[in-house]
Symmetry: C2
Subunit: 553 residues, 2 copies
């Protein structure tokens, strides 16, 4: 059976987008899954909290699934796991820090009965037809790995998220030798991170940020507040190192920052002297120039600790004009304005703020063009499939692969749900499976779709007018109303005339329908809606949602 | 009377924000206004089209106003003029292109009876107590000027928006000598553009973009589409120059691009050979490699020509996979994701897209740090007031001024509505006047405020539940209902149980109220709202707007 001997690679997320990474590998009767991430909603997904992948294909094939392999602990690689586990229970494989962070998340979702298997870089595990080797990489979170996935067909390398850092903060440099060995032996296909592919050159070492911290700390004469990504343990380590160098105590603020610091310290990924970390309630026992606060909120998130500090809404931390605030992060696209607002608010309070435009307080965790070329050159894959990127990233990564000698017909830009079918010598795009976005809003998973979003957008732009009339079931006579109520439309007090005229428009429709003896409520409602819509648009060039309601008595 | 002899400078917009620039100068019984711009709504201003300054102060003092002086024709300097002219008629002074572009706008608003006075760089006009001299500058639109405003008190220089371009495309280099002469004679205060103050070094010459165009055009073997800002006449000139160099015809698409090209050509700001420009309907008479399309949409605006081309919704221009699309612009903060979406869509169609990350296809129109220092050093002002910037820009510009020798007490960071009062030797912050944002939504100006926006936000996040009950006026008995209608909340078909249970919750409230003989509708509504809100939040952790309506019969 030729079909059964093909290896299928099916990205259910992460292609044509940054985030929501999940890739399915299927061979004979076995499936393994690599990562299971979430993403943040697009602007038009109003009211949505997070977005997770559609896993219908996995639910249909749940008996084949041998395991979920994690490359690292970032939300865009593990964030959807709690939702998926509620549908299908799967054994999970990952490195110590990855599983440590995941455990906290599973506890929050009251998921107890999950099989978590700790692996380390260099390990190889067997899952049915698959042999999976974990290869050490560098990234903006410790304990990140790439994967070499081997079946009878050959070896596939999936880089996960990575950069090349020759002088990493903890752990060791990415295992270039292992990539080279596998490349020499022959790699059937490479799936490689495309996030930073539009950037020329090399990503700077994480260590360069530490030098900036030391410089800034050496000159600071009062309290220092540093905001960064909670998961960037290397960054937190460097803040702690600089604090210890200049005899400052460290306070941690923000739920996710407290979680990460706790887990990373317990598992040995954060090193500090006894007594460096102090409780937030002990702060007032120290002078301001003896303190560093590490906090969440580097993206200007509305409920984060930094935002609450900036707007004087933090219960424990008051902002002082002589504070130095360091925002050690880049804006994730879409967050630029929110971050600017926090910076402006902080500066308004007299605080000095150092952010990416002003000093080297951040480096990326993703490989730039020259690093991508290095890995590609070491691995020498027969087939290439760029992953983790929008269309423009995937296309450019494909062009780079071609410039390195890969024939165009051996390069595959897929969409989520498409299948790459591989034999020992061939690759082609096979039939697609169901894939897409599942929206999570509150406790509801998937109950917000296009109609709900379209209504939310309509309501958000011009608000709503409700028209209520009580009518006689027998003869269609108006018994009470019409009453008109609006929300999000105009200041009613300043627009009394408009609303009164709107009522007259509805009355006119009602009396016309009465004359014509229309007792079909659907027609009546649609007449009310159209007349009112035309009147309002003519008067004020707005298009509120109009909701006619008829009560029968 | 000491008070009357003070010169007041009152920014009504443009401080603490990028956009909506308008500054009032008041001396004795005379007022002049510099610029009158609009800005785009913040994310939380849902449904709002544009934002204009609150000009209550000008309306109160309209008899004093001698004129409105324009520095250049960008929307953030002229966009609010039609709205202001509907309240107060003022003579307007500006250079030829500025007034040419303004005329088109006034026609669209059916404003005929406006006094427009054309001036040119080098001119000086007298307006009551004020003498206003126009000084040539460089910017991303031709015919931009700075102003030297002189009264008995002394001379104030307002830079307008500017950069220093030693090799400008049309017109001449900024009149550095005049800034130097005024500086040598003594300048009381400098108001200077802060937009690019966080960028080190110098802004590149507009000419550098032309070199990139020539390079890209020389290699292109099919059609070229270039998207840029409609108002950037220099950029359009360079696209036309490159087109002529490589024997291509030029098609213009997008309403504002057509407007600008028409006005700029008529007034002599765009030069091209006879026959270069062709009608969009003549396109099919040429080969693809004989065509360049200049279009709007460089910010990914949903209704723009480029967006319509990308999504195959343009009536006249079809996208071909061998097109080369050049996006000759930077994202304005907040537009990053919209632009990415267009780029991804274009690439998906097979098109090659060149944007700012990939080649030098854009330069800014605003001065960077070294240029700001140059002007400051030439002008040598006694007092300094940074303008055109968010808090972080103003603060940094103040720091730069201080580093150049201005004493801290001579530097003033104002907020919109604050007053800087000047005598020949002193400056201080005087009493504030009314200032703020007026929101324009459709034809409504100022009728959308905080309550309407709060409701739109609420509706956008979790939608709406309307509860209608018809009740007896006499005894408070339920006659019909409760009916429950939702919009933007959940897929009703998938949530029938939830909605049915919600109805039961309301019924229970009604029967309890009936028992307690509550006939006060306000109390009844509030009971319904609270019980339903608690039930829904408990069930699904969402907080829709709940609108109870009681019909009395």
């Amino acid at each position: 059976m030729a079909k059964a001997n093909k290896l299928k690679i099916i990205p259910l997320g992460g292609l044509g987008e940054i985030g929501k990474n999940i890739t399915v590998f299927e061979y004979k009767e076995d499936i393994i899954i690599v990562d299971c991430g979430m993403t943040f909603p697009e602007d038009e997904m109003l009211g949505v909290d997070i977005v997770i992948p559609d896993i219908t294909y996995l639910i249909k094939n749940k008996d084949k699934i041998k395991g979920l392999i994690l490359t690292h602990g970032h939300e865009d690689h593990v964030g959807a796991i709690p939702y998926v586990l509620k549908k299908i229970n799967i054994p999970i494989y990952g490195t110590k820090l990855t599983l440590g962070l995941l455990s906290t998340k599973l506890k929050e979702h009251n998921l107890g009965d999950v099989e978590l298997n700790t692996v380390k870089a260099g390990d190889t595990i067997r899952l049915g037809e698959f042999q999976v080797e974990f290869i050490r990489t560098n990234h903006s979170i410790p304990d990140s790995v790439a994967l070499a996935i081997t079946t009878n067909i050959g070896t596939i390398i999936h880089t996960g998220d990575f950069k090349i850092d020759y002088t990493p903060i903890s752990g060791e440099v990415i295992d270039l030798n292992r990539f080279a060995e596998l490349g020499s032996r022959g790699v059937l296909a490479l799936l490689s991170d495309s996030t930073n592919v539009t950037r020329r050159g090399y990503t700077m070492s994480e260590r360069s940020v530490g030098d900036t911290f030391k410089d800034l700390f050496s000159k600071a004469d009062s309290r220092i507040i540093v905001a960064t990504f909670a998961s960037n343990v290397h960054r937190v380590q460097q803040i702690i190192d600089a604090a210890e160098l200049y005899d400052r105590k460290v306070v941690v603020s923000g739920r996710s920052m407290v979680n990460t610091v706790t887990v990373a310290t317990e598992l040995g990924y954060l090193r500090m002297e006894e007594g460096t970390l102090i409780d937030i309630n002990e702060m007032n026992r120290y002078r301001k120039d003896e303190l560093v606060i590490i906090t969440t909120g580097s993206q200007g998130e509305p409920m984060s600790a930094l935002t609450r500090i900036a707007f004087s809404e933090h219960r424990k931390i008051e902002l002082f004009p002589d504070d130095l605030v360091i925002i050690s992060a880049s804006p994730i696209p879409g967050n630029e304005k929110t971050i600017s607002r926090i910076i402006n608010k902080l500066i308004e309070s007299g605080t000095r703020v150092v952010y990416e435009d002003l000093a080297e307080v951040h480096v990326s965790g993703h490989a730039c063009q020259e690093e991508l070329k290095l890995i590609h050159t070491l691995v020498k894959p027969k087939f290439f499939m760029p992953v983790h990127g929008e269309q423009r990233h995937l296309k450019m990564h494909a062009d780079i692969s071609h410039s390195l000698g890969t024939p165009k017909e051996n390069i595959f830009i897929l969409e989520n749900g498409q299948t790459l079918e591989l034999t020992k010598n061939t690759a082609n795009i096979g039939p697609s499976v169901q894939a897409g976005n599942i929206l999570v809003d509150g406790l509801g998973v998937g109950d917000v779709g296009n109609i709900v979003l379209r209504d939310r957008k309509h309501l958000s732009e011009d608000g709503l007018i409700v028209v209520v009339v009580t009518m006689s079931k027998q003869d269609g006579a108006v018994i009470a109303g019409p009453d008109i109520i609006s929300r999000g439309f105009v200041y009613v007090r300043e627009s009394e005339d408009l609303m009164e005229e709107a009522r007259c428009v509805v009355k006119k429709v009602l009396s016309e329908c009465e004359k014509k003896k229309i007792t079909d409520w659907a027609t009546l409602k649609s007449n009310i809606r159209e007349s009112l819509r035309d009147y309002i648009y003519e008067k004020i060039k707005r298009n509120p949602m109009i909701l006619p309601i008829i009560m029968e008595v």
